[in-house]
Symmetry: C2
């Protein structure tokens, strides 16, 4: 399977290039300069994207503004107009499946209303697909748009779209890769680490999530993606049913141990 990946130089793009290379042929799509074996195309250039996608079996769309404080001009150009161009380019180049990097920030206000208690072990509240979208940012609004745009393409243009509401993918190495350097975590506030206990998506599980989205026998799905963490605030269990995603890692205990929290086994 030949898979085009937009935003291939970003954090998740870099992870997927490294970890999915043995399962798929990856075609990285980036702004200049190109990545090794990649193609250059701007999100603003639908024709360039269509050329980049030609011959591919699927597109993973990661490109665009990824920060919750991204200003409107960037959100409009990259996450709305750019997202449209990606779907349009996939359609005209005959690529049926698009895996769309959505975000938990489409439901961020549910989380914000319920924290910090929400992150505690044993709290039953789980935010699922039955909950309204309540974006916490312009970035989150743009991903609501992208999900709706994907669904439109499924129903009107016969495409396949899987939207992944991705948890927290951090730059630090995976727990299986050994304990992190103190430089990474000593500057991370305890409340952020407490949240990460619930929202962590390891690099390995991130790759597994996207692989599941590439292979799921569905026409349309939305799935939350985190590792099998001791506390889960989103309905990640549902992703097993919708796209067959089963995480194998869990947020590492060293992440929050200095906060004095207990660790679930």
């Amino acid at each position: 399977m030949l898979v085009a990946v937009t935003g291939a130089r970003g954090r998740i793009g870099t992870i997927l290039r490294a970890r999915l290379a043995d399962r798929y042929q990856i075609r990285p799509v980036t702004r200049a300069p190109a990545v090794d074996r990649g193609v250059i195309a701007e999100l603003a250039d639908a024709d360039g994207l269509a050329a980049a996608f030609r011959g591919c079996d699927a597109v993973i769309h990661l490109g665009g503004a990824a920060a919750t404080d991204a200003p409107w001009d960037r959100v409009l150009a990259d996450n709305i107009a750019g997202c449209r161009n990606v779907f349009e380019a996939a359609r005209v180049s005959g690529v049926r499946r698009v895996v769309f990097a959505s975000t938990n920030h489409v439901v961020g206000m549910h989380e914000e209303d319920a924290r910090p208690e929400l992150y505690e072990l044993g709290v039953p509240r789980v935010i699922g697909l039955g909950d309204d979208v309540r974006p916490d940012s312009l970035y989150g609004v743009s991903k609501v748009f992208g999900e709706a745009f994907g669904r439109y393409h499924v129903e009107r243009h016969g495409m396949i779209c899987v939207c992944l509401r991705i948890g927290s993918v951090v730059a630090a190495p995976d727990p299986g890769d050994g304990p992190p350097g103190t430089d990474v975590w000593s500057v991370t506030p305890p409340e952020v680490r407490r949240r990460l206990r619930a929202t962590w998506l390891s690099h390995r599980d991130c790759a597994g999530l996207f692989a599941a989205a590439l292979e799921a026998p569905v026409r349309w799905a939305v799935a939350y993606g985190t590792s099998a963490n001791p506390r889960q605030i989103w309905d990640v269990a549902g992703a097993r049913d919708t796209i067959g995603f089963v995480p194998v890692d869990s947020a590492p205990a060293w992440l929050w141990s200095s906060t004095g929290s207990e660790v679930a086994e």
Copy 2:
């Protein structure tokens, strides 16, 4: 109450100017030329909109592309960037309440999947707020965006937003105004008239719907709006609970009588 109305020259804008003038002071906002007592501002011009909204108690946002076959360029410029400019202008000019003209086309694929049986009297299926958005058009996608954008402004900027998923407002006069000229309906296919039996929103009820949205003691609501038709395919009854909208008209029998359908009393 001083109410700015964008798209004031359009079909619904014209109805509201005529039928709400005795209850509110209306400030029509249009592209050039101006409407009587109105202000000129382009949807592309956030500063111009802010000037137009200054001193108002609410904004009714009707402006933008209103056709389900509107092309992407218009949808992007008018319904996405323009909608953002309207909310931003309301925010900076201190207008707290925005009534947003959404559409039933945000759930249009539910309808399309179930028709034509959906329109029959006695069929129980009602599309409600618990159903996923499934836009049937780029226009519908843009309204999903607008609803999410409104909710973001409620939760992040302390605004009030009521989104109206409007039924079918036709140019023909209201049933209370007497039978229509044959020129209007003789060219309307029977299947369209059959649908109108369920989706009709009379001019009087249209005005009542927007008045309810202006006065509802809510911070956020989404409401379907049709008249009290013999068949109702959307959860209009729910609009009584959310914004206090109670339609007084019903789709007129002459609308579909030539199709041989029975008329519910």
